[in-house]
C-alpha cells in the first residue's frame, strides 16, 4: 500500500507552499531592496529545482545527466543573457 501513497508529491507541495510564503515575506515585511532580492532569488530557484526534481522526474531516465546538463546549460545561458543585457543597458551606461 505504501507505494500508493504519493509521499514525494505531498512533501514537494508542502515545500513549495512554504517557499511561496517565504517569498511573500518580501511584500509583507518591508525588507530592503537587497535583502528582498536575495530572498526572491533563493526562493525562486529552490522552488524551480523542487519542481524539476520532485514533479518533473528529471532524474529518473537513462538520460538523466543529459537532461540535467541541457537544463543547466540553458539556465546559464539565460542568466548570461539577462545579466549581460543589464550590464549594457543599466549598469554601465
Amino acid at each position: 500500500m505504501s507505494e500508493l501513497f504519493p509521499r514525494k508529491q505531498i512533501i514537494g507541495f508542502v515545500f513549495s507552499l512554504v517557499l511561496t510564503a517565504a517569498a511573500l515575506a518580501v511584500y509583507f515585511l518591508k525588507l530592503s531592496f537587497a535583502q528582498g532580492m536575495v530572498v526572491l532569488v533563493v526562493t525562486a530557484f529552490v522552488q524551480a529545482l523542487l519542481q524539476l526534481v520532485v514533479f518533473m522526474h528529471a532524474g529518473e531516465s537513462e538520460d538523466k545527466w543529459v537532461i540535467y546538463g541541457k537544463v543547466f546549460f540553458m539556465i546559464a545561458m539565460a542568466l548570461i543573457t539577462v545579466f549581460g543585457t543589464l550590464l549594457i543597458f543599466l549598469w554601465d551606461m
Binding site: E3, L4, P6, Q9, I10, G12, F13, S16, L17, T20, A23, L24, V26, Y27, L31, F33, G36, M37, L40, V41, T43, A44, Q47, A48, Q51, L52, V54, F55, M56, H57, A58, S61, D63, V66, I67, K70, V71, F73, M74, I75, M77, A78, L79, T81, V82, T85, L86, F89, L90
Partner: protein, 198 residues
C-alpha cells in the same frame, strides 16, 4: 510496436523515450524564450513613459490566489502521473480534470487582472513597460490556454483508448509542460510582482 515492460508505460517504446527526451529539449528552449521576455522586462521595467508604474497597478490578493491555484494544479497533475504509473486510469483522469479546472481558474483570475489593468489605463499601447508586462504575462497565459486545450485532447484520448504506451506518454509529456508553466509562474510571481511591489 515493441513495448519494454520493465519501464514505466510512458517510456515503454523507443519512440516514447525519444518523445520525452525531445520535449525536454523543447522545454530548454522555452527557458530561453522566457529568459528573453524577462531580459526585456527588466530593461523596460522603469521606462513607463506617461503611463503607470508597476507599484501603481499591481495588487497582491489576485497574485496570491493565482499562485496558489497554479501551485496546487502542479501538485494535482503530479498526483495524476503518480496514479497513472499505478495503472489507475480513473484516479488519473480525475486528477487531470482537477488540474485543468485549476488552470481554468487561474486563467479567469488573469483575465480579470488584465481587465483591471486596462481600466487603470495600462494597455498594450500605453508605454514600453505596460506592453512588456502584458506580453510577458500574456505569453505565459497563452501557454496555459494552449495547455488547457491540449490537456483536454489528451484526456479524451485516455478515456477512449485507455492507458496505452501512447496515451501514457502524451499524458506524461503534458505533465512536464504543466510543471514547467508553474516554474515560469514562480519567476513571474517573484521577479515581476513581488520585486515590483517591494
Amino acid at each position: 510496436m515493441k513495448v519494454d515492460h520493465s519501464l514505466p508505460l510512458e517510456y515503454g517504446t523507443k519512440q516514447n523515450g525519444l518523445n520525452i527526451f525531445g520535449f525536454w529539449v523543447f522545454l530548454a528552449a522555452e527557458i530561453m524564450l522566457f529568459a528573453t521576455l524577462f531580459t526585456s522586462y527588466f530593461t523596460l521595467e522603469h521606462r513607463t513613459g506617461s503611463g503607470p508604474s508597476g507599484t501603481e497597478i499591481f495588487e497582491i490578493a489576485p497574485v496570491i490566489i493565482e499562485t496558489l491555484l497554479l501551485l496546487t494544479s502542479s501538485f494535482t497533475i503530479g498526483l495524476g502521473v503518480h496514479a497513472m504509473r499505478l495503472g489507475r486510469k480513473k484516479a488519473m483522469m480525475t486528477f487531470f480534470v482537477i488540474t485543468l479546472l485549476l488552470g481554468l481558474g487561474f486563467l479567469g483570475f488573469e483575465i480579470d487582472e488584465f481587465i483591471t489593468y486596462i481600466h487603470d489605463g495600462a494597455t498594450l499601447q500605453t508605454s514600453a513597460f505596460t506592453a512588456m508586462l502584458m506580453t510577458t504575462l500574456g505569453t505565459h497565459g497563452l501557454h496555459v490556454t494552449f495547455g488547457l486545450f491540449w490537456g483536454t485532447a489528451i484526456l479524451l484520448q485516455v478515456k477512449k483508448r485507455g492507458l496505452t504506451p501512447e496515451t501514457a506518454n502524451k499524458s506524461f509529456i503534458f505533465s512536464l509542460y504543466w510543471h514547467f508553466l508553474d516554474v515560469v509562474w514562480i519567476f513571474i510571481f517573484s521577479f515581476i510582482y513581488l520585486k515590483g511591489m517591494m
